[in-house]
Symmetry: C2
Subunit: 301 residues, 2 copies
């Protein structure tokens, strides 16, 4: 698979060409830069992205280059109305969307009616929450699609992406880290783990990958992680049970920068099911830092 | 089981009475306050604790009330010589002993000869490291014993220790947290996990329990943990594979303080296989904070 640099000009041109078409896709946009990467990829393929930016989560700089609406969490009724007005039938969730506090929700009537289902979803991790939302949208005639349906080129391909290659020890660490992630799958948590020379140094839960790596940087500074720099891998994979229409693991330049500062040898992500935002820059950062970046398919460690 | 307050006067008196006896126990002391709690319990039972304080880890205030020697990590030869001179045949490891950097070790000759075994132990987590050391000591005629052999009263008993009782939700969270710990057992990592309303919020690896709880305090401050205060439990248990002669999970007043600041409902530890230091104070802190503290036996959640 070839990873192309983002080309904003082409993206906007395509978006303009298709603005009258009914072939629009509603992107429900959480935080981070991934929503734009997905919108760009959708536009390059001649479909029209319409951004539904979640207040408090989405970054206005990321979403404002496409037609967009701001929505509050909990306004499913408003969302469905706007999505229909924009001729969207397909809905794609993208970007960080942390478990919202129930007290932060502003509920409209269709959402209030759906509350019993939503409340039930809150117990038991993100997967259940998001599956609950999916069911509600389906009732409104909206189809939830996945990134791989419309923009497979922003998923991490199989193989080493940059110049640095993982060593035999790194490959063993990658395998062990993926085993840790698989063991935690039933508990519907994190998508990241760090293993260095066969020792599990960190497991991601509610804190997110960047925070987990920051912790390693701190532990190293205080001498509590003593593996010498250049040993250890960050592995990211979707949970075994994960509905891949939501919340795929994602990496970007910042992930690589943190991994390098944490003294790791590299980053390995599940091939075909993790998003790489700004691929060219992400790979360039890895090459500059001298760490590897690899997509790992089944049985390819 | 009755938990008695520490009684330093009695402890020292007993230690003095038995100072001429050959029935001495060598305590290899890492960090934290637990070594003194164990030494006090040993002295109360009429045996003579001799503290071997590890330089850079042990706290001089904790060890200096008993006969003691300072040893550097890696000086197994010196330790064996001193232990024999003190008529110790039993050796007990106690206190925090983080994975040392190989570069920090000062090796004496018996240790250098043992290095191939020690180096092998460094791969694969604490259990392997400590088991490697145990074998080396056994070769020198020293018997490694466990806390439950000499001071079972400092292990957390089954049942609720303070005034607050876990709710039905707390009990479900406790069960789930222990499931997480069991799933991670094969990977030889941490002894702690936090679950709130069925969501796994944090998993402990190299950072230690206090750091894990500090992270939750931070995540809550930044709105990334939104469970309302008073929900969630910290669970601690030995790894399924853990050699209980080393590195038992431990709780003390600080654990409770951090758990309270992290907004948790309480703390649950595996009954009979976790150390409670300063039990009276630990329980008092839990009662003041309004959180529960429970020892959980098999099938008693």
């Amino acid at each position: 698979m070839t990873i192309q640099p983002e080309n904003q000009a082409i993206a906007q041109e395509h978006a303009a060409e298709n603005s009258a078409a009914g072939d629009a896709i509603a992107l429900i946009c959480g935080g981070g830069s991934f929503p734009r990467a997905v919108a760009d990829a959708i536009a390059r393929r001649g479909r029209r992205p319409v951004m539904f930016a979640i207040k408090g989560w989405a970054d206005s700089k990321v979403i404002e280059q496409y037609p967009h609406h701001w929505i509050a969490l909990g306004q499913l009724g408003r969302f469905c109305r706007l999505a229909r007005a924009e001729h969207c039938h397909d809905v794609l969730f993208i970007g960080t969307l942390l478990r919202p506090a129930i007290r932060d929700l502003r509920l409209d009537w269709p959402t209030v009616r759906a509350m019993p289902r939503i409340i039930r979803s809150f117990r038991g991790g993100d997967d259940h929450l998001l599956s609950g939302v999916a069911n509600i949208l389906a009732d409104a005639g909206l189809r939830i699609i996945a990134v791989h349906d419309v923009a497979p080129e922003i998923l991490v391909p199989d193989g080493v992406l940059g110049r640095c290659q993982p060593s035999a020890r790194d490959r063993a660490d990658i395998a062990r880290a993926f085993e840790v992630l698989a063991a935690l799958g039933p508990f519907d948590i994190g998508q990241g783990a760090v293993v260095a020379d066969n020792n599990v140094l960190a497991v991601e839960a509610a804190e997110g990958t960047d925070n987990m790596l920051s912790r390693l940087i701190e532990l190293r500074r205080h001498g509590r992680v003593t593996a010498r720099p250049g040993i250890g891998v960050l592995a990211k994979a979707p949970k075994p049970s994960q509905d891949r229409r939501f919340d795929l693991p994602a990496i970007g330049p910042r992930t690589i920068e943190y991994a390098a500062r944490a003294g790791l040898a590299g980053v390995a992500v599940a091939a075909g099911s993790a998003i790489i935002a700004d691929a060219a820059e992400t790979i360039a950062v890895a090459d500059r830092a001298g760490i590897f970046l690899a997509g790992v398919g089944r049985g390819s460690v």
